[in-house]
């Protein structure tokens, strides 16, 4: 019997190999009360082994491209891949001196602020109202949530149909008030459509989080507030909203990132590759210059700038807004 060790019937040793030994021997440390759930590994290598797949993904899909982007932002690349020449900071100065770029940056700022504000506030409003509904609230919540299941390009497509020049109900509706909406032609109309579709797409996500946040507020605390404060609106501002702050802060960061990056699909469908006079955001500009304009260096410089903006924004949010957040 050549396989004797493997087919060993001893039930106590299901992993006769060396790796099995590692698994068998890590055990909970019972003595330390603060880390009751902490696992002690016998081999110092094992935890890193567990982390390795995640680290690999982060490295390959995040750090490596970042480093590549930073590197190529200092080069002028040949569009056909025949080489590149070092140009120092020229890509950056070109971008920052460009009026077009600054205009897009201004639009991105306004766009991000409006999308974040409206998707958060409408999501919150719906969550508060849905939380108050007692009868048939499951159907209610489902209807509000399922928009989230739609893929961004599809949402953009549906949004575009709402704003279609000939069949769009929203265009007809606006027409009732004498607003001749020309999405795709008029800068402001296009911007309006982009914001509406982006907000619409993000509301369910915010709704889910706000609703679960609201349901996490103890009933008795609400009741105590009812006894203490007559005005429902005042109760909302002084008790409910502060208790929702952790959720709101998390959503603020998520929504800012969403408006900056994840609206790409929506914008792509609306401007259909032909930015022309239409409003676009910085991330779409990166794509346009890099993949349509074949200016990899400039495009890389833009994405590095975008990276820095997000970095600064996140630090700002954590430093100045999170301080006011009460975690229970």
């Amino acid at each position: 019997m050549t396989h004797a060790p493997l087919s060993s019937p001893t039930p106590a040793a299901p992993f006769p190999s060396g790796a099995g030994g590692l698994f068998r021997r890590f055990k909970a440390r019972p003595s330390e009360d603060t880390s009751a759930k902490r696992v002690q590994f016998n081999s110092p290598l094992l935890p890193y082994l567990f982390l390795a797949p995640q680290m690999a993904i982060i490295f390959i899909f995040f750090y490596w491209p970042s480093v590549q982007a930073i590197q190529s932002s200092f080069y002028l690349e040949d569009p056909f891949g025949f080489g590149s020449s070092f140009v120092g900071l020229a890509n950056y100065t070109d971008v920052l001196k460009s009026n077009e770029y600054l205009g897009i940056a201004r639009f991105t700022a306004v766009f991000t602020a409006l999308v974040t504000f409206f998707s958060l506030s409408i999501g919150l409003l719906l969550a508060v109202k849905a939380d108050g509904v007692i009868r048939g609230n499951a159907a209610y919540k489902t209807l509000l949530i399922w928009v989230y299941a739609i893929a961004p390009p599809v949402a953009g497509l549906m949004g575009m149909m709402m704003f279609d020049q000939h069949i769009g109900p929203l265009v007809k509706f606006a027409g009732l008030f004498g607003w001749e909406m020309k999405v795709g032609l008029n800068y402001n109309d296009t911007a309006f459509a982009m914001i509406v579709v982006s907000v619409w797409k993000q509301i369910p996500y915010n709704f889910i989080f706000f609703l679960s946040g609201l349901q996490g507020i103890p009933v008795s605390v609400r009741e105590a507030a009812i006894m203490d404060c007559r005005s429902g609106l005042r109760r909302f501002w002084t008790v409910i909203l502060p208790l929702l702050a952790p959720t709101a802060f998390f959503l603020l960061i998520i929504n800012t990132t969403y408006a900056l990056f994840d609206t790409f699909g929506v914008i792509d469908v609306i401007v259909k590759d032909k930015a022309a006079n239409n409003p676009i955001t910085l991330v779409y500009k990166v794509y346009m210059d890099g993949f349509r304009g074949n200016d990899l260096g400039g495009s890389s410089a833009q994405s590095v700038i975008l990276m820095i903006i997000v970095f600064v924004l996140t630090i700002f949010q954590f430093r100045f807004i999170e301080r006011r957040v009460h975690y229970n």
């Binding site: 103890p218 009741e223 009812i226 007559r230």
Partner: protein, 371 residues
Amino acid sequence: MAQINITNVSKIYAGGVEAVKSVSLDIADGEFIVLVGPSGCGKSTLLRMVAGLEAISKGTVEIGDRVINDIEPAERDIAMVFQNYALYPHMTVYNNLAYGLKNRGTPKAEIDARVAEAARMLEIEPYLTRKPRALSGGQRQRVAMGRAIVRKPAAFLFDEPLSNLDAKLRVTMRGEIKQLQKRLGTTSLYVTHDQLEAMTLADRLVVLNGGQIEQIGRPLDVYHTPASTFVASFIGSPAMNLLRATREGSRLHFGSQVLESDRLSALPTELTIGIRAEDLRVARAGEQSLTMKVDYIEELGAQRLVHGMLDGKKLTAALSPEIELSDTIALTIAPSRLHFFDVTTGKRLAQIVDGAVGKREDTGALEMAGG
């Protein structure tokens, strides 16, 4: 401060479940009323209707001379202490206390003064700047009390305020609540499922069962003259022994065992006999007695609870720890200490008993005819 009048109040939920059935209760100014009963008896629902957290389906509730059925909870001039404290977790202790006053537009100086006074009374002054999560359970309960006190309401409502505390703290806080209520003289309505808490706190206690009032009375009156078998088994620890018996002339038959008294003649022939464990004592030689087979013993220190069987039925006796025990003991009881209840309704047979057997003070075991 005010009296509270609850008149024919019912709570009917959607689906027709009647949680509270036409309850009437008049609470005098400054009185401490405890609502007690098992879970689901409607005591919390009743309290929450007074608070305004549940709508009143039928009947009226008056606080002072004002019908408050349709008045907002915050305008009812009441303050409530919740079971799980319900402190605002994002506010400091000071703000927790001040919140209700701020919303009523109380001037800042007065808020400061009232919070300081309440904090001194409850000894929570060192914690005013802390958040609730930095406090222990007992301290949180004090803050919850403080939040009620600073409002100087017409009435306090307590919804099982001590059930989240450990046993020792519960006893301390119980005493403090009682003292505080006496000092402030504020009308209070207190809900608990703990009969001991009810006994020790109440001026009058209200025993609820199935949404209806079983008995209202001072704690000792309820203890000594329970209106029904339900009250008898709910109030008092250990619970009152309830035994079926038949009467033949002046003899009570507990299965094969017999007690005899010449004053039972007016009672029906079938009845339920109630016996408090502490009213049983070991029979002296020659006395008539009931023989109990001992099953097990619980030592309480001052007392010893002897659990056993009397002719196949469970019986508990509270005896002095000095008495030596064997497998069977002969127990006796003064007939005046027996409680009689109707077999079907469970109601106390008050008139008949008091007329026939007499007050419990004036008789003793020795009057029993020798058995």
